[in-house]
């Protein structure tokens, strides 16, 4: 028609739709899982009225949020007030573009790769978009015209940028080992080989702590602590705008788990099974299905871990948090990077002695 390859456009469009709706669905049921897990750990039952085991509870919550009255404070900065949650949601969903969900499927005679964009700066793109996510919080806090929201937004922004540094440095050590930024290549390096967690345990620990801080998740959730700043940067929001902020946090959690699994735990590699042999037995499409199930299983384990930690540990005070980020994690990440560098060079050039 117009010299555009329509098949690629449709293929990518369908993939994007599936990934976005999938992550929205998983974020929705993360809220259900959060309440159930919290209840189980606190000797009670959690929602079990709306549908069997309370499975329709997220639908009820979503409906409630839509039905609430949209309150926009008179003195808030109009356009920015609405932009804040939108930015948070957009950046949360945009990061899902580079995660490899599986290898490839074979439909209609074509090989469709299950990654929306296999750019060769994969992980750097994720970092860039996560940094943009800070804007969503800052704009939300500023546009609320409320000094407590502003304080909450400032705290959240400073927390995120402090922990991004150590996340990046911990990642550099990993990149020295893998030699590539593309997530797909990293996953295929870990298929049927040793996972990166065994090569970089300290790096994983630092990355994990920083992922908690990036998602504003306990123990780092003073930006939205209920008993400290009313509700922090989302005090003045009601109805679906608040829903967007809360949802963006769950989507962030999901995507952070996906990134951690892809980097350190082998992505969609099924553990203890030789995937190459299995591929010859079952064929491409079934293999892709198993890969996706395996990846989702690992991500769910991580999400449950996030929730487990939330309901165990009390939250940090602001100065303790900054102390941890700057005075402990950055030197530790730097030390990790230096030691990894030394070992890589030793391995490469033989002993210098």
């Amino acid at each position: 028609m117009l010299f555009i390859d329509w098949t690629i456009v449709i293929e990518k469009f369908v993939l994007i739709a599936v990934v976005v709706f999938g992550s929205l669905g998983i974020a929705m049921y993360s809220t259900w899982a959060e309440r159930k897990v919290a209840a189980l750990m606190q000797d009670r039952r959690g929602p079990n009225r709306a549908g069997p085991f309370g499975l329709f509870q997220p639908l009820a919550d979503g409906l409630k949020l839509f039905m609430k009255e949209e309150i926009i404070p008179t003195y808030s900065a109009g356009f920015l007030f609405i932009l804040g949650p939108c930015l948070a949601m957009i950046t949360a969903v945009m990061t899902s573009a580079v995660i490899p969900w599986g290898d490839k499927v074979h439909f209609f005679g074509r090989d469709i790769s299950l990654q929306i964009a296999d750019i060769n700066i994969g992980i750097l793109y994720v970092f860039g978009v996560v940094s943009l996510g800070v804007y969503g919080i800052m704009i939300g806090g500023w546009a609320s015209n409320n000094k407590y929201s502003l304080m909450g937004a400032l705290r959240a922004a400073s927390q995120i940028i402090s922990y991004e540094l150590s996340m990046g440095i911990a990642l550099i050590a990993l990149l020295m080992l893998t030699g590539t930024l593309s997530l797909k290549t990293m996953v295929s390096q870990q298929m049927d080989h040793i996972w990166n967690i065994a090569k970089q345990p300290l790096g994983f620990l630092i990355f994990l702590v920083c992922a908690f801080a990036e998602c504003n998740r306990t123990p780092f959730d003073l930006a939205e602590a209920e008993n400290e700043l009313v509700a922090g940067y989302h005090t003045e929001y009601s109805s679906m705008k608040l829903g967007f902020y809360l949802f963006a946090e769950y989507i962030n959690m999901f995507i952070s788990s996906a990134v951690m699994v892809s980097l350190f735990f082998g992505g969609y590699d099924i553990p203890f099974i030789n995937d190459a042999h299995l591929l010859q037995h079952v064929g491409t499409n079934w293999m892709a299905f198993f890969h996706i199930i395996c990846l989702l299983g690992k991500i769910i384990c991580f999400i449950l871990f996030f929730m487990w930690v939330r309901w165990t540990i009390p939250r940090f005070r602001y100065d303790q948090l900054m102390n941890l980020g700057w005075k402990l994690l950055i030197p530790l990440a730097l030390a990790n990077m230096t030691i990894t560098g030394v070992i890589v060079l030793w391995h490469h050039y033989g002993s210098p002695f």
């Binding site: 750990m41 000797d43 540990i313």
Partner: protein
């Protein structure tokens, strides 16, 4: 500074060991405790399918009593209205006509008997004041309602079912009050 009592205990102020300073072993221990709680038995019950039983002297909704032949006990004497500290009971008396002997015990009965549940404090003083064993507090709650006038319970809301016409409902409404038939 001297200690104020002799029950002073020395506080452990040793500096934290390395394992304590990194917090990770303590976090792991806390997480294993939380994990253990997932598998413990929960004390929550699924209300309203299961209800925790009340004691026999629980003071719930009022019930206007009848005797075994089905005649209403209440004679509209007004002692319960006087005894009520919240002034929740109002009544109007009426005279028993010739054909109504099977309905009412005595010659005077309560034509209109209303309890305002929003005022009632469920103290049970009306039960203690009644000379005819005509009102007592049962085990049910006062259910919720959307409007104020739904809370003013009239005689047909409060009266116990007739033992002649509906014996099972009568027995169910009597509950285990037979156990607390004290002397009046």
């Amino acid at each position: 500074m001297e200690a104020l009592t002799n029950r002073v205990k020395p506080v452990d102020r040793r500096p934290m060991s390395f394992l304590e300073k990194i917090y990770l072993p303590a976090i792991m221990k806390g997480m294993s405790i939380t994990f253990g709680h997932i598998f413990k038995k929960r004390p929550t019950i699924n209300y309203p399918e299961k209800i925790r039983p009340f004691s026999p002297v629980f003071r719930g909704l009022q019930i206007l009593n009848r005797d075994e032949e089905g005649r209403e006990n209440c004679t509209a004497c007004g002692l319960c209205a006087v005894a009520c500290p919240a002034e929740a009971i109002t009544m109007e008396g009426a005279e028993r006509k010739l054909g109504e002997e099977h309905l009412y015990r005595e010659e005077k009965y309560a034509a209109k008997y209303e309890i305002n549940m929003l005022r009632c404090i469920f103290c049970g003083l009306c039960e203690e004041a009644c000379p005819k064993d005509a009102i007592y507090l049962s085990e049910t709650f006062a259910p919720a309602n959307y409007q104020r006038k739904g809370f003013i319970y009239g005689k047909d809301d409060l009266l116990i079912p007739d033992p002649k016409t509906e014996p099972e409902a009568y027995a169910k409404a009597k509950g285990n009050r037979a156990n607390k038939e004290t002397v009046k």
